[in-house]
Amino acid sequence: MGRIIWKRSALLWLLALAIMAGFQWWRGARVDGLLFTLAVALVLVDLVKGSPVEPFIRRRILPRGVIVACAAIVGVILTVTPRNGWLDLVGVLIAGAGVMFLAWSPQPTRDVRPDAAVHRSSTIWALLAISLCVWEALALVISATSPLAATYALQAFPTVSVLLDPLLRSGVGQVFFVGCWLLTGLGLLRLWSRP
């Protein structure tokens, strides 16, 4: 085992995941807390021991058509079946496992932009993402600790979930958000730039 290199970006991601895990535990979402705790553990094991699953999934490449077909099947499952049902769980698990396995091996970077532009972009995006998380956390903390009745407090200090839930209950909204989620997953696989 070689020397561990603790890069700043890796530590920041570790911190972000740990904060998310702690926040989920605090708000009483135990399964969500467990998921983020597992992500923290996965990153830690990866940093300390090297990738424990790498030998099994290295260079796992599927044809683009197969990936799109799988995504379409998951999309149908998530939109046609009742929301929050066990089939939705199956669809989300298949999508997550698929993206995690296919995205595990490093993709060759295109390196088409100057380093300064990439650094500037990542810094600003990180600041905006943190701002969104802090604003959401503020809404949740205020509504959870408010003396107002819980339902009223959530409407007075709405989280993103509270705002999006009515949209997700409609068929059109569900199709839109499932589509966005799956396209983002395919984007993480950099499907369109694959050979």
Partner: protein, 68 residues
């Protein structure tokens, strides 16, 4: 009133993200577009795990678990 302020905060942040991406697409050598920045970031396995975990959790949270 607090509801409007909270929603306004979300809209300001989302608008800033859209403006940033539009600017980046006009001047990609000044600020890299999101796709190029992510392509660079995803070279790190730690960041891949972090991004995929966050992405997957959105699906879990909004499509399966009870959000309310």
């Amino acid at each position: 009133m607090t509801r409007i302020i909270m929603i306004g905060g979300y809209l300001v942040i989302v608008t800033a993200m859209l403006v940033l991406e539009l600017y980046a697409r006009r001047k990609p050598d000044d600020v890299a577009p999101l796709s190029d920045m992510l392509a660079d970031a995803m070279a790190s396995r730690t960041i891949r795990i972090g991004l995929i975990s966050a992405w997957w959790w959105f699906g879990w949270h909004f499509f399966f678990s009870q959000t309310m």
